[in-house]
Symmetry: C2
Subunit: 333 residues, 2 copies
């Protein structure tokens, strides 16, 4: 077997068959991946969540994960924040000719480990190969199906609701940028890439009526999530700077790069809008799950600055958090 990706690995012939059987299925789980044109699945219910995401991150390996674990966790999280239990993933890979197969294997191994940890199965897939200079090592698409064991978690947001997050913000984007730019002082940085479904299940089971809205804060960070939920609505979203969990290393690198951690992508953080009176108890519940151990209330929904997100700074002023024209960190997911 060759040790890099060849054009023929993407064809309908023996080379592709060998790659799919010996490398991809073997690693991702030959017991779960069905080889037919489609996987046949038996669902426990008739209401499902369906999502898709393509991952084009560079570099493909970074502290705390790689494009494989990212592709599993990112799609698991898009299902989980709807209140759905993620069950099945597809995996479609675009390989650039010349990619060392060892790198591919590490990525696939991470996908498998992430799927096992999150409790989802990869059931169907596809492989394409593009020539050198028409891709960038590997792009992965995962689509996902989840089922609803309780109704979708989407309710009206009201002033007085609390804004909760499950830990430190900005880790993923900062770690990827530091790795990409070989920043030597960034040793402590690591992506927060993690599945949120166990955490969210814990919250839903304990406080099924208290959750208004959940969203994972990926591209555009926490500030973009808050912009989305306040846009054209009769309330504002206020953050308290003193309450924001930000690692010192993230603060340092983001200051150096001139970037606000509130706009930096996370890959294991969920913004939860919840009934204000239940928020402290919800945070305690979240802390019981590994992915929620640093959970905190970071702000509230207000009657002020309707339609906007803003932050009350350490010195007591309010600073607006507008939707940015573009992300400052390209290709972080």
């Amino acid at each position: 077997m060759p040790d890099t990706v060849l054009p023929g690995h993407g064809s309908g012939g023996k080379l592709m068959n060998d790659l799919i059987h010996d490398t991809i299925r073997e690693t991702l789980g030959s017991e779960s991946i069905q080889l037919d044109d489609s996987a046949i699945l038996q669902l426990p219910g008739r209401q499902i969540a369906f999502t898709t995401d393509s991952y084009t991150i560079t570099p493909i390996e970074f502290p705390g994960g790689n494009i494989g674990s990212l592709a599993v966790n990112g799609t698991v999280n898009d299902l989980a924040v709807m209140g759905a239990a993620p069950l099945y993933l597809s995996c479609s890979i675009i390989l650039e000719e010349g990619l060392p197969l060892d790198e591919l294997k590490r990525v696939l191994q991470s996908m498998r480990a992430a799927a096992d940890y999150a409790g989802v199965s990869i059931v169907t897939g596809d492989t394409k190969v593009v020539p050198r200079g028409k891709g960038d090592k590997i792009y992965i698409n995962t689509a996902g199906i989840g089922v609803f064991n309780s109704p979708p978690q989407r309710h009206d947001i009201l002033p007085g609701d609390a804004i909760i997050i499950n830990g430190f913000i900005g880790d993923h984007g900062t770690a990827v940028m530091a790795e990409r730019n070989k920043l030597s002082f960034s040793k402590g940085l690591s992506s927060d890439c993690a599945p949120l479904n166990m955490l969210i299940r814990q919250v839903i089971q304990s406080y099924p009526e208290s959750i208004r809205f959940m969203r994972d804060a990926t591209r555009g960070g926490v500030a973009s999530v808050l912009n989305e939920i306040t846009k054209d609505r009769p309330f504002g979203a206020k953050l308290i700077e003193n309450s924001l969990p930000v690692h010192d290393e993230v603060r340092g690198v983001s200051e150096l790069l001139g970037i606000d951690p509130l706009y930096i992508a996370n890959e294991g953080k969920v913004v939860i809008i919840a009934d204000g009176k239940d928020a402290p108890a919800i945070v305690e519940e979240m802390k019981k799950v590994p992915e929620g151990k640093d959970s905190a209330i970071i702000g509230e929904i207000t009657d002020d600055y309707t339609g906007s997100a803003y932050i009350t700074t350490r010195v007591g002023g309010n600073r607006m958090l507008p939707l940015l024209i573009e992300e400052q960190l390209p290709r972080i997911c």
Copy 2:
């Protein structure tokens, strides 16, 4: 609005929001695409088919279709050949910086038209942008969900079964290669890109017990499908050269390129293995549907050459059809 894709079109900011709202959702169908992290879907049953495919074809526009119609039909067909009724598609797009937005719009319009014709809804999506030289205009992933109104069409294949195809072979790959290489004498060539779900529904409804196996003959062509079903099995698959529907233009171009039409990709052809005694009636049923008007019996399952595909040539000899090491036409889907 700019007229080419910019890096910021892939970020979590306003530029991406505008692209998604004004161009993508508007064209693909704002009434069906849900804007949340996942689409919430109500299914008519609990057994589903789930599939995924990434499309990296070049050129992205070709006689008979473009990457958009291909991405819809290809995934619809992967569901249909299982015997499932395709219902929902996701659409994830990787755009190369610099792509003219007009080209993107044409692709999206074709996706929408193909989805409408096939009767499926695009319900969720994702957009990423990669820098110049890290992609090739546009790559599209579609994942699809179908439901089973009757059991999956997978039964034991037996000697005496007929091999049926719904029309001319090799059109897609030949048309794309001719377009790519600007072959001036190839005016009559056009891709067969089409959805197979209406055709297959007709067959299943009329002859539910007679179908053993169906597979769309894409990468690797008809020969690769027959290799797949005969591999390590106690029967062979025999084609009759005189019965094979091949357009003269396809024969001409494939001879020029030194390629056998049996190995050329199709995008609207299904190989059906069916009970031999019902095969003529099935072919008549197929001819009632536009996508089946040139249907024909092209061979049979035999006790000879077990584990192999072969063809009885015009002069009466048998020629083996081995699985190729690699596809001769790269990036045709």
